[in-house]
Symmetry: D3
Subunit: 246 residues, 6 copies
């Protein structure tokens, strides 16, 4: 049946990204913010600067970047219970926010940031697949804006953002490699991979998971190729968004 | 000094509402939704319908309407800790969501709703005072849309929404009664009151609190008058939003 | 049917208070204490003084007054689960203790109290309606006794208790305004209102809720009148209890 | 030095119990209740009957007896944090309520009780040492009254209370065995032991703990003797209280 | 039927201990460690030294010894839910670790230990009755090794271990006193007692519980005799293990 | 400096595994068990079979395989707080046990397993790097033994274990790819990757993370090569362990 369909939903080719929009400065209060839309996925990213650091960096002069992730209860097809009401964050949430935090730290020179913490909150207003990668791509913009504001206020002199970091998902469906899966694709994919890379195309994080059946070495190679090509385009969109706002 | 100021921030007169916008159908997944903006306060309200009821209504044939409330961590001036991360909802959150739930139930004939629960999630994207009253006014629209969809799909025959319900804050600052306080006003008000009323001007909930000094009986009367006048205007805006969407 | 009944349970007229007893100094350990009985409702109020303040007052020289509220598991008709065993305080508990705290702070000059915290614990030994208003009326006595002890030990010079604060419930049943509802009345009332006021008859807090149907403006007025008359009588009882103990 | 003191506080001899009072039927709502006072220790015990049993007895036809224990925050010299607010019951609380439950089950024929659970809540209104043993002695009275009510209402035919159960503490201070320690004695005792026994003088539970130094075999013997003598007197007081109420 | 059996499982006589093995130095990281096996019960005990003390000893110059206890989920016949996943330690766990801590503190001169805390973790790898007493007996060896290491590194001069402490269970089955119960015996015993004593035969803790029927004074005496005899043999095994490792 | 060292600690070459031992049947109670040792890392894996399934598989006829992971408090260099005492499992724990569960499910035909759940508990007795990959390799053996027991007892007819699954870590240190990192290597590696693969060399999961600096595409390729070679050797060890036990 998939063979009969000329292409993916919305006429996308296998290696196309979804329609992307980055709206920097969405939030009135945050030091940096960006509303990212990848197809129907919408994530509000805000970067908050605080003049304190967690214990493991305390006294080193360096700063810290961390992330938190949440989904609004009805961001999804079926309403999910609110994590605040359940009294704890689930394993998926914790895993995702650890990933976002690691990815964003790869963009930053923590020493140049100085003794302050930037918390990037990524809240999913609407979910249609790829929320964690959208959070990284949009979170980078929020983070970069917050750092720009610190620099403008002369609190830091050296620019601590060393490089762009962006992320995309890629998977195998019916044997074919497809980029930037939406929810319908993600839930039927045989392999699901999230790739985080720098603006220069170096890898920061690779997380690939087979659902039910394993994948071959050459399939891994194809997925990495597709993801790196997608990330290069995301980096350009980030750069444009930051120029507008700068 | 206040006497010398011609008016409130943004040139509002004492009994003016803030700029109001209701965006029905904001969410792709929810059965009913509305993004409400009152000045810089933005609350995303979604209404989710589920075919089950809580224990205390089970077996009666009636349905239930409940509400949940949350603030994004950086919806406020200073970033707040995420309640999901803290592992519990604070007293303020619980108090507000109980208020919203009671207010919205006053709009609905639970018997006509039939054995289903509508959960109205009110998530504050940006806070600038009056988030709980905005949640009620916008939550009513989301609720009415969800009920309209139930009716359209012939799951219910009688219309369970009996009346409009809307809410506004009112307070006393420097001795003067002011309507629809923003954050700056709210945090310096001597008395802060939230009023919930029906489209016909009957009272559903009155919650007035003196901060530091008590208030006189005649001041209570003036505040109620101001609030009821504001709610009449909010009701009209709700009606227009529902027409557009209907 | 209610028309045939000459009066309320126990022969009370609509605007009568229940039998009231205040037993100051009930507790051996607390700096101030009072066991209040309103009809069959019994609340043990203790005031504990500690030489530290919460973060938001720290360093200002001022003190703080806060309240906690709890119900013994079998204070009610049916045994309730113990909140300590459930691992969290419910929304109703948090809402009530926030109300009690705000009400008692209205009685006190926090600056004159100096850098110390008074915690008023209100534990319901037996519940028959009106536990939160009884907690405020009895909690005031416990608080005033604790302050008196501080003054007697010369830890403070100015008297920080500025005014009496007391509270009562009022409601509408079968269209008639009734004062100081017991549990049976409270659970069938159409409107339920709690009023907190000063000894001089000024309002501190007004919380009125319609259950199912809304109420008219003139009904609000009648309820406030009835409540203020009741609070005047409660204030006299507080004064007598404090004299005895003084 | 102790040798020079003619006796203990209040003129008690080493093997005297404190002044004891049992007030059955203290609570309006509970099926059985008793306020027990041992010196300045006051524990309110209520017995609640519910027609359901825990999973491990379900389907056996037998019933269950369980206990819960709590202290009001200011029942003690210094105010303790409320366990409900801390979000969990401490180890001491859990240990004590397990002890009370085991002790009370030794008094009851669970098969004759039938498929119902009796929960005995023991809430300490004021603490001055020996709260867990007072809870057992007073809890037995509450339990027996609840069972009597079940029998009176013909819900059970055989009397499930097989025997009296009561408890007392005993310790070694300055080398001397002393019965029924108050808080001051308890906190300086070298050995602290709680003994639960039946009305016939058989042992149900023995819990002895050396604080800092170990105790000899013959000291154990003396403590057991003293405790059994005290329990015989407590049993008589229980019987009198039950007669009055019967 | 038991009368026909010549002896207990494995041919043990009533007052025999189970096969015992103490493996000191099991763990690579801990300052002191011991894997204890009593029959099929296996408990891994590690002693960790930290240069800080809990608040109640802070500033006194003395140190502290505390214990924690856990069971691996499948250490038991049926898999138990993991306490970390349930979000809290049960009452049994807390009760046991309080017992182990008290018992081990009886072995140590906390003043000679100096301002440091030794935490003895007792984790049950396999359970077959008597885990808490095995934890005490094995925990003592871990503790003594950690102290020996402190002394060897000249961090302390006086030896803070004053005496051996060991523990054993004893019970009554079919009217006969039996020592060191395995799980099958423990779950059918009429009386179950845990005794902790010093190497010199003085008592540190006695905890005896009747299951269903009470026990006589002379039965208590027999159980204490049996337990003390067993503890004398456990003490010798501890001494041998410490010599080997010394 | 590393260039001057002829090899890794213990004389390992860059692509050598650590000394490996698999001890099947370690546990008396579990349906399947295996103690795995990789160098100084020791993980006790037990597989428990229960005749019930989680909600999302209920009614499908299929079974489920899940994993839980824990570390003993002193399995590490410094003692860690016990997760059961902290009241929740950390993000790292949840992330690891989700990984182990996914990996083991890739080995099993859940339909052939029938409506039962196998829970594989992986408890780290001693940690020296690579605990999650050891848990997968050893957990597979425990799982296979539990399934073998099910088959032997004729509860299932088809063998649900379809293929071997094993895992190993690989990283880049000083620019060189190294296999099976110990703790010292892991904590200084520039890139850290965990690879899970089948006995046939197909990939199940790839998780690579750059610490501080990104990695090149060709480095990814080398790491995958090394890991797959290691996993082939681990598969042989698993097969030998299962033969012995079979």
């Amino acid at each position: 049946m998939p063979a009969l369909m000329p292409s993916r939903t919305n006429g996308r080719a296998d290696l196309d990204l979804r329609a992307l929009s980055l709206e920097p400065g969405f939030s009135k209060h945050a030091e940096g913010s960006c509303l990212i839309r990848c197809g129907d996925t919408q994530v509000l990213c805000t970067a908050s600067v605080e003049d304190r650091v967690p214990p493991h960096v305390y006294g080193t002069g360096a700063g810290w970047v961390t992330a938190e992730y949440g989904m609004l209860p009805r961001s999804t097809h079926e309403r999910m219970a609110r994590e605040a009401a359940k009294g704890k964050q689930g394993g998926r949430t914790l895993e995702i926010q650890r990933l976002i935090g690691r990815a964003l730290r790869a963009a930053v020179d923590l020493r140049a940031l100085g003794p302050r913490t930037i918390t990037v909150d990524c809240d999913v207003l609407q979910a249609d697949g790829g929320t964690r990668t959208a959070a990284i791509t949009g979170g980078f913009v929020a983070l970069a804006l917050a750092v720009k504001a610190l620099k403008a206020s002369r609190k830091i002199s050296t620019a601590p953002v060393k490089r762009h970091v962006a992320a995309v998902s890629v998977g195998i469906l019916d044997g074919a490699v497809r980029l930037d899966l939406d929810y319908g694709e993600d839930s039927t994919a045989e392999v699901d991979m999230n790739v985080v890379a720098t603006g220069e195309g170096e890898l920061v994080e690779v997380q690939g998971t087979a659902e039910g059946k394993a994948f071959r070495r050459d399939q891994l190679d194809q997925m990495i190729d597709a993801a790196l090509a997608g990330i290069a385009r995301l980096k350009e969109a980030q750069a444009r968004a930051l120029e507008v706002r700068g």
